[in-house]
């Protein structure tokens, strides 16, 4: 069970309350795809990622960056049980199917739909992708860098510590269902 101080809670909720998802989400994912190009492997269905210019201009990348950030909202609202919060998402991430990323709806109906589609389509089984655990940490690092760039002097060492701790817990929770 992760312990949070009052200061850490207020730092995390404060960062997300003042966050521009539309600005930071895309920037973080763009940075990850440029700085760690091997992560492009997991976004082959997104279209042109051929160079930095293409990555920056890719609307699928931008949309997905925003989605990822909103995916953190649940953890912010459930800081005392991030592990359970992401149990469902973790299964999804570890069993990513080669389908349109829009299917990543985190509803139980969506999960059932994906699993039954998976069972029906043999071709999907052989092309199953699994996200590496490293991808989450690399993306977390890029998000930290973007927040640091945005917040300037407000991004104190204590703020950095709290934010990195929060992301580490999220990354760990996402990795729990891998097998």
């Amino acid at each position: 069970m992760v312990e949070w101080t009052e200061q850490e809670r207020s730092i995390i909720t404060g960062i997300f309350a003042n966050l521009s998802y539309e600005e930071i989400g895309p920037k973080a994912l763009v940075r990850c795809l440029i700085v760690y190009p091997w992560t492009q492997r997991y976004f082959s269905s997104f279209g042109n990622l051929y160079n930095a210019e293409a990555i920056r201009g890719n609307p699928n990348v931008a949309a997905h960056g925003i989605k990822v950030l909103h995916g953190l909202d649940r953890a912010v609202k459930n800081m005392d049980n991030i592990k359970a919060t992401y149990a469902e998402l973790s299964v999804l991430h570890s069993e990513k199917l080669h389908v349109d990323p829009d299917n990543f709806r985190v509803s139980s109906a969506g999960l059932q739909q994906m699993h039954s589609a998976h069972l029906k389509a043999d071709r999907l089984v052989s092309r199953r992708l699994t996200f590496p655990l490293f991808l989450h940490q690399l993306l977390a690092d890029c998000l930290t860098i973007e927040i640091a760039a945005k917040l300037g002097t407000a991004f104190t060492a204590d703020t950095q510590a709290a934010f990195q701790k929060f992301l580490a817990v999220v990354v760990s929770a996402l990795g729990r269902q891998y097998h």
Binding site: A52, I145, E146, A148, A149, K150, Q160
Partner: protein, 143 residues
């Protein structure tokens, strides 16, 4: 992942923008490391004051950035250029090389924090590769 000509140009360009603030960058990166990664404090148990404003932290931040400056100057041959520093780290200081990644992360973060417009993803990837190669150069004489 060795440095391409493009990487070297990017590092030198970024360095020219940030080097006048080198002391501040070093001090901030070091003090962040001590707060965010408290296990690193073990290497500084001989310091009286590990807080961010302390003379020792500031002084050592400056020392670290002196090493970075040297590495920029020797960017075409880091292995040989950093041999003396490597001997020092290997035989005298004996800091676990795993910590180089931690300090590199803090340096990159501080640069992003102080120079957001200059620390583009392109500058970031070259600087990340550069610091990785610096770490390799420092580790050269370890075993």
């Amino acid at each position: 992942m060795s440095l391409t000509d493009k990487d070297k140009a990017a590092v030198k360009a970024l360095w020219s923008r940030i080097s006048k603030s080198a002391d501040a960058i070093g001090a901030d990166a070091l003090s962040r490391m001590l707060v965010v990664y408290p296990q690193t404090k073990t290497y500084f148990s001989h310091w009286a004051d590990l807080s961010s404003g302390s003379a020792q932290v500031k002084g050592h931040g400056k020392t670290i950035m002196g090493g970075v400056a040297l590495a920029v100057a020797k960017i075409d041959d880091l292995t040989n250029g950093l041999l003396d520093l490597s001997e020092k780290h290997a035989f005298q200081i004996k800091v676990d090389p795993a910590n180089f990644k931690i300090l590199a992360h803090c340096l990159l973060l501080v640069i992003a924090n102080l120079f957001p417009a200059d620390f583009t993803p392109e500058a970031h990837v070259s600087m990340d590769k550069f610091l990785g190669n610096v770490a390799l150069g420092i580790s050269e004489r370890y075993r």
